[in-house]
């Protein structure tokens, strides 16, 4: 059977069994979708290529270390999630080390200041992050998935709908229920979340 008509799950199994060509088919099949996903957030061809490459390095490492759960229809959404996380990491690193050049109108020294949080603010932030993660963990699986993709992977509702295989309305509904459930949990457990 030609590789091009095999499902993703079969190709992943063949790849695990040592067929390197299956990876080439998977990349060829999904490269456009994955690359556009990255480029839509980065808008830079070279950086998008780097992230695309890094994404597949992670894919290869995970599959070869037998940590990948091979379920039908999940390969693309899994790869997109890895790409999204790498995009977020890239933004975080850029924020930590923004590239600024000295010009006649602008001196780099005019904007340099210590914006890091003090110890108390850091402790509060860590506590809030931990509380939020615990709250999210308590949500039903499909609501948790929407919240994670929306806030941690910064995906649009349309992208989440595509990945989870439901309509945008269902995704919005799940988010609404998730927010309502989290509010109830906050009230019930008397959790204080400063802005």
């Amino acid at each position: 059977m030609a590789n091009s008509i095999l499902s993703d799950a079969v190709l992943v199994n063949n790849y695990i069994a040592g067929d390197e060509n299956s990876l080439a088919v998977l990349i060829n099949r999904h490269q456009s979708r994955i690359y556009r996903h990255i480029y839509s957030k980065i808008s830079d061809r070279d950086v998008s290529d780097d992230i695309f490459q890094e994404t597949f390095f992670k894919v290869i490492q995970t599959i070869k270390s037998k940590k990948y759960y091979n379920e039908e229809g999940k390969f693309l959404s899994w790869v997109l999630r890895i790409a999204s996380n790498l995009v977020i990491d890239k933004f975080r690193n850029d924020k930590k080390m923004p590239l600024k050049r000295d010009t006649e109108e602008y001196s780099v020294f005019s904007s340099i200041k210590d914006t890091s949080l003090d110890v108390e603010s850091k402790l509060i932030k860590n506590q809030v992050d931990t509380d939020l993660k615990l709250l999210i963990e308590k949500l039903p699986a499909e609501q948790k998935e929407v919240v994670m993709l929306r806030f941690y992977s910064e995906m649009s509702f349309k992208e989440i709908a595509d990945i989870t295989g439901v309509s945008v309305n269902t995704t919005l509904g799940r988010m609404r229920y998730a927010m309502a459930n989290m509010r109830k949990l906050i009230e019930k457990n008397k959790i204080y979340l400063p802005a």
């Binding site: 456009s32 998008s48 290869i60």
Partner: protein, 46 residues
Amino acid sequence: MAKLYSKNLSQKKMLPKKETILLILQYSSALSIVKIGNFNINLIAN
């Protein structure tokens, strides 16, 4: 009269560079992962 055509940029296929794909495939061929106890060791063949 000549018709004016405009390129629909949204339909233009966005693809990674061929070199990027080649590098990924070479990395995949070269990488083997050995599990020893709780550790995974990545071996990259030259």
